[in-house]
Amino acid sequence: MENLTVRKSPLPWWAAGIVLGLVQVLAIGLVKPLGVSTQFVVADAKIISVVNSDYAQNHPLISKGKYQEFGYGWWLDIGLLAGACIAAVLIRRWKIQKTTVWWQVNHGSSAAKRLITGFVGGFLILLGARFAHGCTSGQFASGWAQLSLSAVPFTVTMFGFGILTAFLVYRKTPTIAK
């Protein structure tokens, strides 16, 4: 049962929030706010350009300059992968895992359903992020940092549907380490 307990976070909530808030201030002070999801379109656009360059050049979205270059946002995502990997190794949390505690408590130990749900979820996440012009980073965190009008409707539907879905999918609560 030990591995069916949700682990404590490495940092307490207040320290974690201050660190992330300062990273945001650094980003806005130096270049532009945090954002992650645009680069998925950039990567796909690069592949489309190779497969069918006429389509890419005439497309109203991916023909735009920001979807053609590997710039600040691209390197931010590369850094994000490296930073998370290094931090996980340093605090000994780098581990091959196929499922989660909340999933196992509700849907059993088989990883197959978790992986399928992951693919479907990922599909909805990025499709939604592009309709919204940003994700939890670029639209929610950066939107509120800048006091963008667009952050208001985004926050309402993202957390509304997030909470609703979580209540439907994860009915049973696991032990949560304090």
Binding site: L11, L61, D77, L81, A129, S150, I163
Partner: protein, 177 residues
């Protein structure tokens, strides 16, 4: 230093921060969406408030690099609903999904593959579906202080007050680190 290099360093700090914060942990995210484990919610509130107050100071100093998204209300509402559904299914968002994939989580790697598929479908349906929706109720790239005439400092302090209230309400026995 090049902007690419700054991007990489900001990304390093952000990725490490998401992991150390417990946000790159789908169990902590689902715990918050299920209103059972308020660690992630409280972390996010502090993240938002520090970012907002810091940006206000940068704006006062005249060195804030704003990059505001268009307030295409219908498109943003639809996008938030789709993203929120995926968020509640998996416990991942684009940033934490990438971060978790880099820490050995196979389900996050599959989720990231789903994200590439989602981005591809968005590109394909953009001309016929997403672009017309973007044009509906689009208030362009606007910030709350501009449209309301209420200064950034007032907005920031009012939102900080609400954030602190949320921290108090989710505090003490309900808080789990």
């Amino acid at each position: 230093m090049s902007t690419e290099m700054i991007g990489f360093i900001v990304g390093l700090l952000f990725g490490a921060g998401l992991l150390l914060a417990g946000l790159a942990d789908p169990d902590k995210i689902i715990g918050t969406l299920r209103l059972k484990d308020f660690h992630a919610m409280r972390t996010i509130i502090v993240f938002i408030l520090v970012g907002m107050l810091g940006t206000w100071i940068l704006a006062l100093l005249g060195i804030a690099n704003f990059s505001v998204k268009p307030a295409a209300i219908l498109s943003v509402l639809i996008g938030g609903a789709l993203l929120g559904t995926g968020f509640g299914l998996t416990g991942y968002c684009p940033g934490t999904g990438l971060a978790c994939a880099a820490t050995g989580r196979v389900d996050a790697m599959v989720t990231v593959l789903g994200m590439f598929a989602g981005a591809l479908v968005f590109i394909l349906i953009y001309p016929a579906v997403a672009q017309p929706i973007e044009a509906i109720a689009n208030f362009k790239k606007v910030m709350l202080p501009e449209i309301t005439g209420i200064p950034r400092g007032v907005w920031s302090l009012v939102i900080v007050a609400f954030g602190v209230l949320a921290l108090i309400l989710t505090g003490k026995k309900k808080s789990v680190d």
